[in-house]
Symmetry: C2
């Protein structure tokens, strides 16, 4: 029996898990990213928890796979930077962890790993051209083209969240202007909802947050939508429309057979998916719009962990570190 | 010695040529697209001129390659539709021409053929990930990914001209809204220039067109720029900025090592290229922006013809029609 350790290093929380060879999670740990303002503390905590997970079975894990929300050189295991977690510039995380953990470590962009997981055991199984997008603190993307993960020339491909939605607009965290993420990333959804709420009094949202704007979250907006609140519907439709417009451009450019939507706010469900689908149908060119199906991620919250474990299996086989495998 | 016939069916003019195996044009014919309002007339004229070209050497051409500005199924040789030439819906051009000409005929999108030509003997030789864009009546695109022409699931990939520049805006010929082409396609450049000229009197452009707005063309705007006209500079910078914004999104999505810019208005030169480069540097993410070089097409006006001839060689070898080769 083989087992793998997967790590999903998110801007909000960090998930670590021990996965069996059928990609089921055997044991898991969750940490809050905000608890580690210093990079060195987080790395030490990762080491501690990975070692603990590794000891929970009698079999030594084949290695550690780590997904991060940012630009990575997967060959060097180097994190260039993380868009929504400050302080992570040019970190040789693979080298650091391999030294302390003495197992092979592989690092990739988190949405690439989600795409890998969906390609191997999820919605994209057997598909050739698939676009993955994750909606959360940031808006990430991963591309499967001609049946393989497409990483681009310096491994930074897939940044759907940083396709401009408008010529002019607000400045994005990435330095760009009017990027999709700057409109539909969690914090901007909340900002927009707050502004709209201030103009209107009759919304279930005000009751749900007990008029305390600091309690406003995408989850609250999603609950209000389920209760039939018209302001919540308006907000989610606007988000769906914006995502749909950028995806129309992606559909015209890449002519994919499938777009997989995952991440926190994708859980909002039908209203969001319906608006995205309608927008693509209306705005993308007929031939590619007819060809593409828009589906939710199959693997949900564990997609990143599973993809990280699959990465270890794939990369481990290709780039064997003899003493560990 | 082998020879090939290449056809570049554009919205403004139709070029036909006989090419030698070193891809040099041996003989050429140019027709005006506006002279053929009826599809059947154009097809008959194509047949006549292809036969005439084919007879000019003692060797029988290996086949005919045709590039068209629109959506094509290259396997069936079927034209789905041409965005800027009305009346060309669902035309089995390959079948029609093979019947009358008795040589193999291959059809592809014109910018795919330009990309193929640049990949085989132009700027992209030896490159892996390259984006081609052509600026003219329409704005076309072709993608080389992992060293191969990427056509997408229904062969419609690469439509950079139909990536939205804004959430809202004017309706495009393709049915979409605020597509790049709707701002920087030839006719829209002229429209915009006319509006600006009406507001301002002191421009060389007014002299060049002798105050007759119907004489306004991108070439006139380009001549005015070369004479140092500030309005012309403003117009071309605005065009460059718009193209640069959409290409920033493409750079973030595909992380290409090179973007090749071709087509009529690319001849404007430095001001346009400088603005495009500056916009990408400013708006795309740092890592992919540093990696990509923005270059003019090497093969200029004959790129489409050369790509069409190369298509015949490549496809002919793969899908031999025994009696002709």
């Amino acid at each position: 029996m083989s087992c793998y350790i997967g790590v999903d290093l998110g801007a909000t929380c960090i998930k670590l898990a021990l996965l069996a060879e059928d990609w089921k999670v055997v044991k898991r740990i969750e940490l809050s990213t905000a608890d580690f303002p210093k990079k060195s503390l987080l790395i030490r905590s990762l080491e501690k928890h990975i070692l603990r997970l590794g000891e929970s079975l009698k079999v030594k894990p084949k290695g550690v796979g780590i997904g991060v929300p940012g630009l990575v050189d997967p060959e060097k295991g180097l994190i260039h930077y993380l868009v929504n977690i400050p302080g992570w510039e040019n970190v040789h995380l693979k080298k650091i962890l391999e030294k302390s953990l003495e197992v092979p470590v592989f690092i990739d962009n988190d949405v690439n790993l989600m795409a890998l997981a969906e390609l191997c055991i999820g919605q994209a199984k057997g598909k050739k051209n698939v676009v993955c997008i994750t909606l959360g603190t940031g808006v990430g993307g991963g591309l499967v083209l001609e049946g393989k993960l497409y990483r681009g020339t310096s491994f930074s491909a897939g940044e759907i969240g940083h396709i401009p939605l408008n010529e002019t607009g607000p400045v994005c965290n990435c330095g760009g202007i009017a990027c999709l993420e700057r409109y539909v990333g969690n914090r901007y959804i909340i900002e927009k909802a707050r502004d709209k709420l201030k103009q209107r009094s009759s919304s279930i949202i005000s009751d749900l947050i007990k008029d305390d704007f600091s309690r406003l979250t995408p989850e609250i907006l999603s609950r209000a939508l389920k209760k039939g609140d018209s302001l919540a519907k308006e907000i989610w439709q606007d988000i769906g429309r914006k995502i749909g417009i950028v995806l129309s451009g992606v559909v015209n450019l890449l002519n994919p057979e499938m777009i997989i939507i995952g991440g926190g706010i994708a859980q909002v469900g039908e209203v969001l998916f319906k608006t995205i689908k309608e927008t693509i149908k209306k705005r993308a060119m007929r031939i590619p719009a007819e060809k593409v199906s828009i589906v939710p991620a199959k693997l949900k919250k564990d997609a990143g962990l599973i993809g990280a474990a699959i990465l270890v299996k794939l990369e481990g086989a290709r780039r064997t570190i003899p003493e560990f495998i």
